[in-house]
Amino acid sequence: MYPNNLKYSEEHEWLLESNGIATIGITDFAVDSLGDIVFVELPQKGTQINQFSTFGEVESVKAASEIYTPISGEIIEINENLETEPELLNNSPYENGWLIKVKMSDPTEIEKLMDSKAYEQFVNSED
């Protein structure tokens, strides 16, 4: 149900690892519960973030949710398309709706995350 090549956090973020760089986004479960996304607040490039702390916010018409990073490191890129097209999160949460790219400071932190099966179980148990 959830992409196999990604890792997941309990706060419904996903992580794609490639050569020490992590691409981060939020899962379609999170997006669905928020509804139509209207605004995404992201920090600037160069910001240092720590695993499981908040780094931004996603707003829909009826709710606002903080986003928590699944990994520590330095933000090297942010998805600037989201400024004019926040609906990318609704349409393509795992690809075009990516949020930030992080140069990981400690790749072993990924062990604290879930794989797609574990995340699916986690989501089902939450309800």
Partner: protein
């Protein structure tokens, strides 16, 4: 005016040369105007004739629901009938035209009214002192929390930085607590709708400044643990804030001051019929126990013992002024007239009728909708559309929008957060059994429609000037003024 014409904004109707008002004479010699460099060159305001303006606003007003036309079972809003007498009295020139900064010797009538109202509200809530200066419920909440803060600081008790708030609370509670510098600790409501005592005990300590509690709660239930809740907080040195939004349920039935609340506020636009006005104005009187009287917001009206002269006074440890002047006097006049019209008998009758009406709806709809708390309710009852969503794929929002087609305003839905697919229904005491029966029938019909024709609900409402509006678009690409609509 047809529907398309109604939506034409004033600036789009504007034609140079049209006039909407007459000009008073320049009866004094013209003076030298300032240099042009100081003056504005253009003022893009409409030029529309008076009668066109009357027709325009009259026509768009008819796109509104309103209490004078529709039933509004809005939980926690107390949408009761607005007596016309109160508007008449508020428009007496002696109330309507006086300036707030007139010497108080020239406004003794106004001050007497305020002083009397202070006393009436204190009596109703069982408290020791009142300030009428907050201009809405939320402002009164902030005042209450600032007083609690000042009280502890005044006692040199600097570690009390936390406020406990149940998860069923209205959004203004945590928002106000944060504005007053506190950290919010949320505690759950148990499955009976009462404050979870164990949860409360686990979070309360000497860093607790106090607790904010709505009684009855936002799920329309009177907390049966209330005495213990008060005891726990008091034993730990905390104070108790009572959100008085639901005062309608308990007028004459219990006085919060007697139970041990330190601050209670009242939304005068709810319980005391200040008209809702499409979103205000309101007024939020705040009442306090003896130990907080000195901290009340500025001003309060005092009466000199010997001379019986009324004054505007600043309490000695006042938290300060909540507004430019003395409060929303226009709303205070209406509240006062209302309380005097009803008197002791009438005020007592409000809560009786309000609670009977809500319980009547409860028993008549308990088999149609889910009833999360199956017990006697107060002046409002919370239902859930969860089963209907599971069975027919139709949610509370769809049902609410369909209610509109039956000329009934939807009940409150955006809280309480602790109930899924919630409908918080508050009929108030001013609705007749006939109106309630109609509402009950309509709800039953809508549930049947959910089963047989869910699309009808998904696409509701059908009979309004607009169908369901695209809120995402409004937030993604905000157009907030006439100029914005011209830009692309």
């Amino acid at each position: 005016m047809n529907n398309t014409n109604k939506r034409k904004l004033l600036m789009d109707r504007s034609i140079p040369g049209k006039v909407g008002a007459t000009f008073p004479a320049l009866d004094i010699p013209e003076q030298k105007l300032p240099d042009k460099s100081q003056l504005r060159e253009d003022l893009a305001m409409p030029e529309v004739s008076e009668n066109e303006i009357v027709r325009y606003f009259s026509s768009i007003s008819q796109m509104n629901f309103s209490i004078d036309h529709n039933f509004y079972p809005l939980g926690s809003c107390t949408m009761k009938y607005n007596p016309k007498l109160n508007d008449d009295i508020a428009s007496f020139p002696g109330f309507n035209d006086i300036h707030p900064l007139q010497d108080t010797s020239t406004t003794q009538g106004a001050l007497e009214l305020m002083h009397d109202l202070q006393n009436l509200l204190a009596e109703i809530t069982g408290m020791a002192g009142t300030s009428l200066s907050p201009m809405a419920g939320a402002e009164a909440e902030l005042a209450g929390m600032l007083m609690i803060r000042s009280y502890h600081l005044n006692n040199e008790d600097f570690k009390r930085k936390k406020v406990i708030i149940p998860d069923s609370a209205h959004g203004t509670n945590p928002a106000s607590a944060v504005m007053a510098g506190f950290e919010v600790i949320s505690i759950p409501t148990d499955e009976n709708g009462n404050t979870d005592i164990d949860a409360l005990k686990s979070v309360v300590d000497d860093t607790t400044a106090g607790l904010m509690l709505t009684q009855p709660s936002t799920i329309g239930l009177f907390d049966t643990n209330i005495i213990e809740v008060v005891k726990i907080i008091n034993e730990n040195g905390g104070l108790i804030y009572g959100d008085g939004a639901n005062l309608n349920a308990i007028l004459g039935k219990v006085k919060p001051g007697e139970i041990g609340f330190d601050v209670v506020h009242s939304n005068l636009h709810k319980t005391f019929t200040q008209p809702h006005g499409g979103g205000g104005p309101g007024a939020g009187a705040v009442m306090v126990s003896q130990r907080l009287v000195d901290f009340l917001p500025d001003p309060i009206v005092t009466k000199e013992e010997k001379s019986s002269i009324f004054n505007l006074s600043q309490p000695i440890k006042s938290i300060g002024k909540m507004g430019t002047f003395h409060g929303n006097f226009g709303a205070l006049v209406r509240a006062y007239a209302y309380i005097r019209t009803l008197g002791k008998d009438g005020i007592n009758a409000i809560s009786e009728d309000a609670v009977i009406n809500a319980n009547y709806i409860r028993v008549k709809l308990q088999d149609t909708l889910d009833l999360p708390y199956d017990r006697i309710c107060s002046h409002e009852v919370v239902f859930s559309a969860k089963s209907i969503k599971e069975k027919y794929g139709v949610n509370a929002l769809d049902m609410a929008k369909r209610l509109i087609d039956y000329d009934i305003h939807p009940p409150t839905m955006y809280f309480p957060l602790i109930v899924d697919e919630a409908f918080l229904v508050e009929p108030t005491e001013t609705e007749s059994k006939e109106t309630l029966d109609e509402f009950i029938d309509v709800m039953k019909t809508i549930v049947k429609e959910a089963e047989s024709n869910p699309e009808l609900l998904h696409n509701a409402p059908h009979n309004t000037p607009n169908k369901r509006l695209n809120e995402a678009m409004a937030a993604r690409n905000p157009k907030l003024s006439w100029r914005d609509t011209k830009a692309n």
